[in-house]
Symmetry: C2
Subunit: 437 residues, 2 copies
């Protein structure tokens, strides 16, 4: 380990017990380099290739692709978890009728934008293969003039670009289990992803149609083989819903709703109807299959909550995690993501002693409404045991609960909207496991 | 065309001649829908599939992929332009020694983030296929303690995530030609792209090494077969340069420098050395091949500018463009991207009469330092001829010049840093061509 002798590590400011350091003190900490070189090289260009390493300059390079692909060294290392219904395993997400679900491997990702190829999908009826020239959305019902738009018509409309996350209400459902299993972050928190979306605001289109008095809900329906549909309050539809025609700059991938989807910011993911083909304006919800037999929250008394649509405040530590071990004592960055379905994340605290003491992490701005926010805090690991946790607060004062608090309130019949504090246990040998704490 | 009769189009506010509308008036304009439906549908779910269209609900869906791919309907429609050295064409970018260049098709993209697969690359010696376990970067020269870091060591360092564009100084070089050719936007402006980058600030690593007094430059060198290297002022290296380990959340693609590259925000792209293997701290520039025989600007008097590193203020209209025709009279959104190598874009003006009158476009925030900024303005096309232009200003008051002004200042020996106003000519039949105006 290299260490700047002029600025010893104990000059840094401890802000909570267990080694959490002041978030402004990133510099002059002891970085765990691959190797401290014994001598300064005398001249430019001399022996920069290390012992036992390849000199890549000896090989000719390849040509460019029309659409870039990942390195062959990444393909097996970073991929989505696709639960299989045929596997006799205990995976929560395998309790499905298709193999069309996929979960984002946040343990290997950075920043706040999820690459298109790694965005999660929950798809109850498989992924349609839609020819955009043979597909349109109809806006109808309680409107003066119904309209039909295909992708070309939508591209000619006024558009907006906004960053938003989508989270399935079933995300982290595995954590309702009685005992903690050492599952990786994709399996516990892989049903949330963040994107830069471009689309046409539904308010633009509904104004164009001329909505009739008395409209209170819209019903959005997809062109998947099960015609998944959800009722959405009209007020929310007019506030910030859009028909998304692009994700991270390019058209959506098939599993994201190609050629276009509804984007319903901050509401549970299944309301952002993919392969959108109908927006029906009405005065009441339709009580469709996916808002009655599924996606309702059962309470301790056996009754169910109706239309528990908004995503709670939540966070997760993405690194370190049980996808790695800590190779040696020293300074590490604890980083992760926080989000709220109502607006901006205002604070993320981190604890390394299982919640006894907390320190504020740095939020990496600009913080967007209803978007993943990256947090970071340096941590000096001295080799002892530790329990790493993050706790998010949003601009409305909502605070992420402990698991105990959440179960006390929601009971044990629940299966959706798990958003309690998540814990990584660190052993003295640097091994990390998922624990309940 | 559907039109809200209660709010006729002439109620909108004209802000420049030729039909430019107030940027806040997006609503209640005449949207060119695919079809206005003759009657309001009587009941939910009835006949939402249009005449002659497929009913996609009749087909079973497919399974999920571990890494998502684009729709088969996008593959040929949207791809990078890869100039071939073997083609006997006049394409500016084909004057290269490899087929490893690729240009971003901005005419088909939205937002500000360029998907990884569509990020441009200029690569003089082909794309190396680097095993990250066999590659490291050495920081050495005028430092107290040289260090060597591989991707794992870099991932354990304190990191930052920032959005930045990269532009090749050769971008738009085709527009130095005497006469305008009707080239698409990828061929004229495809050597700029925007990403969310995550990396370790060079200042963090240089502080860790302990830089010796008298250091004035760094020399960054890549592991491509030509060991491309550039000298960068030390002050700039300490200000905001990073070793980028991720792009849009995932590791870099091979043509972006996998496993890591230097990111030198706002300086010409070739200084953001890919496949980085050496950072050499020194007291003078090394005058390497790519900062002498290439990438210097020849002035009218035959002398060359030394180290013209900073990218100018620039913009382009991405839609409408010559990749489309205007299908009918009506309201269109004029949208595009603006950027500055020095900081934030503060203003973008749009003209539809070849620069006689200008109107302020809306900038879509948050506006980042040294990043593509999306602008938008609605335009009522009445069917006449038009010349669409955009003019960017940055927070330092730098204004994008006209082509005439630029050639008057830079002469005709120049081949880099073309950043003048670009023009789209609209004909009465809706056809669009690239013109000089």
């Amino acid at each position: 380990m290299s260490k700047n002798k002029n600025l010893p590590i104990d000059a840094t400011e401890h802000v909570a017990s267990g080694g959490l350091l002041n978030r402004r003190l990133f510099l002059n900490t002891a970085i765990a380099t691959t190797a401290a070189l014994a001598t300064t090289r005398a001249a430019y260009g001399q022996e920069v290739v290390g012992e036992g390493q390849e000199d890549w300059t000896l090989y000719p390079g390849s040509d460019a692709l029309e659409y870039g692909e990942r390195s062959r060294f990444e393909v097996e290392r970073v991929k989505k978890f696709v639960p299989k219904v045929t596997e006799a395993n205990e995976d929560y997400y395998a309790l499905r009728t298709t193999n069309a679900n996929s979960l984002t491997p946040h343990q290997h990702l950075t920043g706040t934008i999820t690459p298109g190829g790694l965005h999660f999908s929950v798809t109850h009826h498989g992924i349609p293969d839609i020819d955009p020239d043979q597909h349109a959305v109809v806006i109808h019902g309680m409107v003066k003039q119904p309209i039909k738009l295909d992708i070309n018509a939508l591209e000619n409309c006024p558009t907006v670009t906004r960053e938003h996350f989508i989270e399935c209400s079933g995300n982290s459902g595995a954590l309702w289990s009685e005992t903690a299993r050492n599952i990786t972050l994709d399996r516990s928190h892989g049903l949330v992803s963040g994107s830069q979306w471009t689309g046409v605001l539904l308010s633009t289109l509904l104004d164009e149609c001329g909505v009739s008095p008395g409209a209170k809900w819209i019903v959005a329906e997809g062109a998947d083989s099960g015609s998944l549909s959800r009722s959405i309050p009209f007020e929310k539809a007019m506030k910030d819903c859009m028909i998304a025609i692009a994700q991270n700059g390019e058209r959506l991938m098939p599993n994201q709703g190609y050629p276009f989807r509804l984007l319903n910011p901050g509401y549970e993911g299944n309301t952002s109807i993919k392969w959108l083909r109908s927006i029906y304006v009405t005065d009441r919800p339709v009580m469709s299959r996916f808002e009655t037999s599924r996606y309702t929250d059962r309470m301790p008394d056996g009754k169910s909550l109706q239309f528990s649509l908004e995503i709670d405040v939540k966070s997760m530590i993405t690194r370190p995690s049980n996808a790695m071990s800590l190779p040696k004592h020293g300074v590490y960055e604890i980083t992760g993501l926080a989000w709220s379905g109502r607006g901006k994340v205002s604070r993320v605290e981190v604890s390394v002693d299982g919640g006894t003491t907390w320190a504020d992490a740095a939020l990496e701005g600009p913080v967007h409404d209803i978007m993943l926010t990256r947090f970071r805090i340096p941590w000096m690991w001295d080799g002892g045991t530790a329990i790493l946790q993050s706790r998010a607060t949003d601009e409305f004062g909502r605070v992420q609960p402990t698991r105990t608090e959440m179960i006390a309130r929601r009971g044990r019949n629940a299966s959706y909207h798990f958003h309690a504090i998540h814990s990584w246990g660190v052993a003295t040998n640097g091994e990390i496991t998922h624990v309940y704490a």
